[in-house]
C-alpha cells in the first residue's frame, strides 16, 4: 500500500501550509503511539508529550488569563479576558464587578477538542486558540478542563460541561449589559463540539439560557459508514479506525456508535421538536471524514425548525484553526464574531445560506 500512501501524503501536504502539516502530523503520530489496541491509553506518555502553558495575569497581546478550581467539583477552568484599558489595573481581577454595565460582552464556555481523550484546558494549542478568540472576536472565554476518556467515560464530560455552565452563569464578574446577565455561548471543536451540543440540550430542558452554540467540526458518528468516511479515510490525518477507537473509549462499555451521545439524531436519538434550543453555528471542514455526520446534524436541527448556520470550508482539514496562516482561520473568526455579536437581532428569524469557501 506504499504507493497509495504516497499519493495521500503528497496531496495532503499540498492542501495545508508546511508548518500546519508538521504540527498535525506530529499529533497524528503521537496519538497513534498512545492508543493501545486493547482500548487502554498511555496517559503518562500523553501528559509528557502534551505541551502546556501557564496562564498569564499580565496581559500579552491584549489578553490575560487565570485558572480557577471549583473546590466543590474539582473542575478546573481557565478564564481569558481582554486586558484592562488602565495598565495600573494589570494583574488583578475584581471579582465583585461585572464586565460592563453598558455593553454586552459574550462569554464563550469553550470545550477543547481531542476526541474526548487528548489535551487539556492548559494545552498550548488550545490556550493559544482561546486567546485569539478573545482578541479577534471580542469575547471572554472560559475553557473547561473536563474529565477525559477512557478513564472517565460518558457522561462525565457532559456533567463537567454542565457544572461549568452553571458556575459561569452565577459569576457576577462575568455579567454584562444593562440588565446584568451572563451572556453565554457554548463552543467547542471536535469532541468539544459534541459536548457543547449535549450541554445545550440539558440547558434547554432545565431552563438555563444559552444564546448560541458554536460547533467547530464537531465529533459525531454512527454505525453506518458514510460516504465521506469511506472517501476520506486516511487521507487527511484522520482514519475511521481511530474514530472508532475514541468512540469505544468514550461510550459506555458494550455500547455502539448509535448511542445518542455519538449519534444524536440517529435511530436512538432524541428529537428536539418543540425544544427551545439555541441558534447554532456549525463549521464543517470539507476534508474531514466526519462531515457527513456533521451535515446530518445540521439537517437534524433544521428539520425541527431550529436556527442553524452552516459554514462549510471546502478545502479545510481538521485543525485548520490552530494556526492563523490560512484563509479558513480568518473566515472562521469573521463568522464567529458576527455570530456572537448579533444578540440584538435575535428577533429576526434566519438560517443564513450555507457559506462556502474555495
Amino acid at each position: 500500500m506504499a504507493a497509495g500512501n504516497e499519493v495521500n501524503l503528497n496531496e495532503c501536504k499540498r492542501i495545508v501550509p508546511l508548518n500546519t502539516w508538521v504540527l498535525i502530523s506530529n499529533f497524528k503520530l503521537a496519538y497513534t503511539l498512545l492508543r493501545r489496541p486493547d482500548g487502554s491509553f498511555n496517559r503518562h506518555l500523553a501528559e509528557f508529550l502534551d505541551r502546556k502553558v501557564p496562564p498569564n495575569s499580565f496581559p500579552v497581546d491584549g489578553v490575560f488569563s487565570f485558572d480557577h478550581v471549583d473546590t466543590s467539583t474539582n473542575l478546573l477552568t481557565r478564564i481569558y479576558l481582554p486586558a484592562p484599558l488602565d495598565p495600573s489595573r494589570y494583574g488583578a481581577v475584581d471579582l465583585t464587578k461585572p464586565l460592563s454595565t453598558t455593553e454586552i460582552v459574550p462569554v464563550l464556555v469553550f470545550f477543547h477538542g481531542g476526541s474526548f481523550t487528548h489535551s487539556s484546558a492548559n494545552s498550548a494549542i488550545y490556550d493559544t486558540f482561546c486567546r485569539r478568540l478573545v482578541s479577534i472576536c471580542g469575547v471572554v472565554v472560559v475553557s473547561v478542563d473536563y474529565r477525559r476518556s477512557p478513564e472517565h467515560r460518558y457522561p462525565c464530560a457532559y456533567d463537567d460541561g454542565w457544572s461549568a455552565l452553571k458556575w459561569v452563569k452565577s459569576r457576577i464578574w462575568l455579567q454584562s449589559g444593562k440588565d446584568s446577565k451572563v451572556y453565554v455561548y457554548l463552543a467547542g471543536d471536535s469532541s468539544g463540539g459534541n459536548i457543547a451540543h449535549n450541554v445545550a440540550v440539558r440547558a434547554s430542558k432545565e431552563g438555563v439560557k444559552v444564546l448560541g452554540n458554536i460547533l467547530l467540526h464537531p465529533m459525531f458518528g454512527g454505525m453506518e459508514r458514510t460516504l465521506s468516511e469511506k472517501r476520506l479515510d486516511g487521507k487527511y490525518f484522520v482514519t475511521i479506525q481511530d474514530r472508532d477507537w475514541y468512540w469505544r473509549a468514550f461510550l459506555p462499555l458494550g455500547e455502539d456508535r448509535d448511542h445518542p451521545a455519538c449519534n444524536p439524531f440517529g435511530p436512538r436519538g432524541q428529537s428536539l421538536e418543540g425544544v427551545n434550543f439555541p441558534k447554532s453555528l456549525v463549521v464543517v471542514a470539507g476534508l474531514d471524514l466526519v462531515q457527513d455526520w456533521q451535515l446530518a446534524y445540521v439537517q437534524g436541527l433544521q428539520k425541527t425548525g431550529h436556527d442553524v448556520n452552516l459554514l462549510y470550508l471546502k478545502q479545510a482539514t481538521i485543525g485548520f484553526y490552530f494556526l492563523p496562516n490560512n484563509d479558513h482561520f480568518h473566515c472562521l473568526m469573521d463568522e464567529l464574531r458576527r455570530f456572537v455579536h448579533s444578540v440584538e437581532d435575535d428577533s429576526l428569524s434566519k438560517s443564513s445560506p450555507i457559506l462556502l469557501t474555495p
Binding site: 506504499a2 500512501n5 504516497e6 501524503l9 503528497n10 501536504k13 499540498r14 492542501i15 501550509p17 508546511l18 508548518n19 502539516w21 508538521v22 504540527l23 502530523s25 506530529n26 503520530l29 497513534t32 503511539l33 492508543r35 493501545r36 489496541p37 498511555n42 503518562h44 506518555l45 501528559e47 509528557f48 508529550l49 505541551r51 502546556k52 502553558v53 501557564p54 496562564p55 498569564n56 495575569s57 499580565f58 500579552v60 487565570f66 485558572d67 480557577h68 478546573l76 494583574g91 488583578a92 481581577v93 475584581d94 471579582l95 465583585t96 492548559n122 498550548a124 494549542i125 493559544t128 457576577i172 494556526l323 492563523p324 496562516n325 490560512n326 484563509d327 480568518h330 473566515c331 474555495p358
Partner: protein, 508 residues
C-alpha cells in the same frame, strides 16, 4: 519522495486579504507560529522534519504502538530530535535494557546513552526572564478579595516608603486575616508579619541560631508533601542514567542537610544490573549551622554496607558555597564519574555578588558528567520590592493550598518551614535576603551562558515521578510537567519546583 513545498510556496495557498497570515520567521530561526504552540522547529528544518514524519507514517499501522511502552521519549518540544529518536528506535542498533517492570515504584538504572539528546539540539538562546505570573484566584468571598487588596496596598505603601500608611494597612490586614480560614489565612499572616517586620525594622534572625530546628522543619516538610521527594527522585533518576555504566561514581551534594536524598540512590545502585559501582559521596554543610555532616555520612555508610555497596564519604564544611575550591573535592580524574547535586542551594548564592559565578566556575573545573539542579519555580529576585511581593504571594498561596488537608504535626511544621522563607523574602534585604528564587528559564539562561549543555530528563522519569506522586501525595492536584527536557512539579496548573540536569564534559 518529492519535497515540493518551500515555506513561501505553501503560503500562497491563501488568496485572501487578511493581515496576519505570513509565517513569520523570527530570530533564532524557529517557526514563530509553532513556538507559541510549544514546538521549536527551525524554519530551515521544517521540510526535513516533514520528511521524517512521512517516513514514520510509512510504518504507521497498529504495529507501531508497541513503541510507546518500550521507548523513552525526550524533549517533545524539539520535534526534530524527537522524530529522529523514534526513527532510530525503529532500527535498534543496541539492546536497550528495559526498566524492571516489577519494581515499578523504585528507581532502576537505565542505559545512559538514551539520556543524551541525539541530532540537533535546540540552542537555548537569550530567553529573557519574563514572568507569566499566575493569578491568585480567591473565593468570591468578599473578605478574601479585600485581604489580598489590603496586602498589596500595604506592600505598595512600603515600596513607596510611606511607612505611616503601611503601618495602618498592615494592622488592617491582620484584622481581615483573622476572619479568614485555611490556606489564605496562613499565607496572609506570614506575609503580614513580613511586612510588619520590614516596617518596624525588626528583621528575622538568621537561620544560624536555629540550625537543628531548621533540620527538623525540613524533615517534616519532606514527610508532609511531595516537593522534596520529587526533587530527590528526579535528580536521582538523572544521576542514575548518567552513571549507568560507570564502575566508580562520585556524588557531590552541595547541601547535604540530613542526607534524605541518598538512601534511595544507594539502594538503586545496589540493584543495578551488573552490580553496583563503588559509590563515593562528598557532603557539603554550612559551618554556620553546626550540622554534623560527618554523622549523616556515617549513617549513610551503614545503609550502604547493608545493601552491599562500597561506600566512601567525605564531609566539607564551609561558610559559603562560593568558598568551595576544586582541590577540596579531590576528584580522581579518569577513574570516576562525577555528579554534582544541588537542591534549593544555588539561589542563596545570588545574595552575594559573584558567588554564583564562583561556584559555577568550580563546578566547571571538575568537569562533572552530570549536574542536577532543583529550584523553586518563581522569580522572587526581581529588583522591585512590590513585584517580588506579588510574585511570592501567588507562589506561596499555591504552595499552602496544596498543603491543605487534615491537620498534622508534619503539616504545621511544613507551614513554618515555608513561613520562614516568606519572612526572609519580604522582610530582609541585601546579603540577608537569601531566598532569591529564580525561574527555570532564568537558570537555563545562566547555565547556557556558562557553557553547560542540557541533559534531557525523559518520559521514564516523568512516569515514575507521576506514579510516586499518586502513591505519596494523596491529593489530586499535583501535576508533573515536562518542559524542554526538564521536569516540573506543580499544584494544579501552577509549576512550583523545577528539576534540570546539565553537563560540562571533558570531551566537547
Amino acid at each position: 519522495m518529492k519535497r515540493e513545498h518551500s515555506h513561501r510556496e505553501t503560503s500562497a495557498v491563501k488568496t485572501g486579504s487578511s493581515s496576519m497570515t505570513a509565517n513569520k520567521e523570527e530570530a533564532g530561526g524557529f517557526d514563530e507560529l509553532l513556538v507559541v504552540l510549544g514546538y521549536k522547529v527551525r524554519s530551515s528544518d521544517m521540510a526535513d522534519v516533514a520528511n521524517k514524519l512521512e517516513q514514520l507514517e510509512m510504518v504507521l499501522d497498529d504495529g507501531i504502538s508497541h513503541l510507546s511502552d518500550d521507548t523513552v521519549h525526550y524533549n517533545p518540544s524539539d520535534l526534530s530530535g524527537w522524530v529522529d529518536t523514534l526513527l532510530s528506535d525503529l532500527n535498534p542498533t543496541c539492546d536497550q535494557v528495559k526498566p524492571d517492570q516489577d519494581s515499578e515504584y523504585e528507581l532502576s538504572a537505565i542505559p545512559g546513552s538514551a539520556a543524551y539528546p541525539r541530532g540537533k539540539r535546540t540552542r537555548t538562546g537569550s530567553d529573557s526572564p519574563t514572568t507569566t505570573r499566575s493569578m491568585v484566584v480567591l473565593d468570591s468571598q468578599e473578605t478574601g478579595v479585600r485581604l489580598v487588596h489590603a496586602l498589596l496596598a500595604c506592600a505598595e505603601a512600603v515600596q513607596q516608603n510611606n511607612l505611616k500608611l503601611a503601618d495602618v494597612l498592615v494592622k488592617h490586614v491582620g484584622l481581615l486575616a483573622s476572619s479568614q480560614a485555611g490556606a489564605m489565612r496562613k499565607v496572609a499572616t506570614y506575609f503580614a508579619e513580613g511586612l510588619a517586620r520590614r516596617i518596624y525594622r525588626i528583621y528575622p534572625r538568621d537561620d544560624v541560631g536555629l540550625s537543628s530546628f531548621s533540620d527538623t522543619l525540613q524533615i517534616h516538610f519532606y514527610e508532609s508533601c511531595p516537593y522534596l521527594k520529587f526533587a530527590h527522585f528526579t535528580a536521582n533518576q538523572a544521576i542514575l542514567e548518567a552513571f549507568a555504566t560507570a564502575e566508580k561514581v562520585h556524588v557531590i551534594d552541595l547541601g547535604l542537610n540530613q542526607g534524605l536524598q541518598w538512601p534511595a540512590l544507594i539502594q538503586a545502585l545496589a540493584l543495578r544490573p551488573g552490580g553496583p559501582p563503588d559509590f563515593r559521596l562528598t557532603g557539603i554543610g554550612s559551618s554556620l549551622t553546626g550540622q554534623s555532616v560527618q554523622e549523616v555520612g556515617w549513617k549513610l555508610g551503614q545503609l550502604a554496607n547493608v545493601v552491599g555497596v562500597n561506600f566512601e564519604f567525605k564531609s566539607i564544611v564551609l561558610n559559603s558555597l562560593s568558598d568551595l575550591k576544586p582541590e577540596m573535592l579531590e576528584i580522581r580524574t579518569g577513574s570516576e564519574s562525577v555528579a554534582v547535586n544541588s537542591v534549593f542551594e544555588l539561589h542563596r548564592l545570588l545574595a552575594h555578588p559573584g558567588s554564583i559565578d564562583n561556584i559555577l566556575l568550580t563546578i566547571k573545573s571538575i568537569k562533572p558528567d552530570i549536574i542536577t539542579v532543583v529550584e523553586q519555580e518563581a522569580n522572587h529576585n526581581g529588583a522591585v520590592f512590590l513585584d517580588r511581593f506579588t510574585e511570592s504571594l501567588h507562589y506561596y498561596s499555591s504552595l499552602f493550598d496544596s498543603l491543605e488537608g487534615p491537620p498534622s504535626q508534619d503539616r504545621v511544621m511544613s507551614e513554618l518551614y515555608l513561613g520562614r522563607q516568606i519572612l526572609n523574602l519580604v522582610a530582609c534585604e541585601g546579603e540577608d535576603r537569601v531566598e532569591r528564587h529564580e525561574t527555570l528559564v532564568q537558570w537555563r539562561n545562566r547555565f547556557s551562558m556558562g557553557g553547560f549543555k542540557p541533559v534531557n530528563i525523559g518520559s521514564y522519569a516523568y512516569k515514575q515521578a507521576s506514579m510516586l506522586l499518586a502513591l505519596y501525595a494523596g491529593a489530586d492536584g499535583y501535576k508533573v510537567e515536562e518542559n524542554e527536557g526538564c521536569l516540573l512539579l506543580g499544584w494544579q496548573t501552577r509549576p512550583l519546583i523545577a528539576t534540570s540536569a546539565w553537563r560540562f564534559n571533558r570531551v566537547e
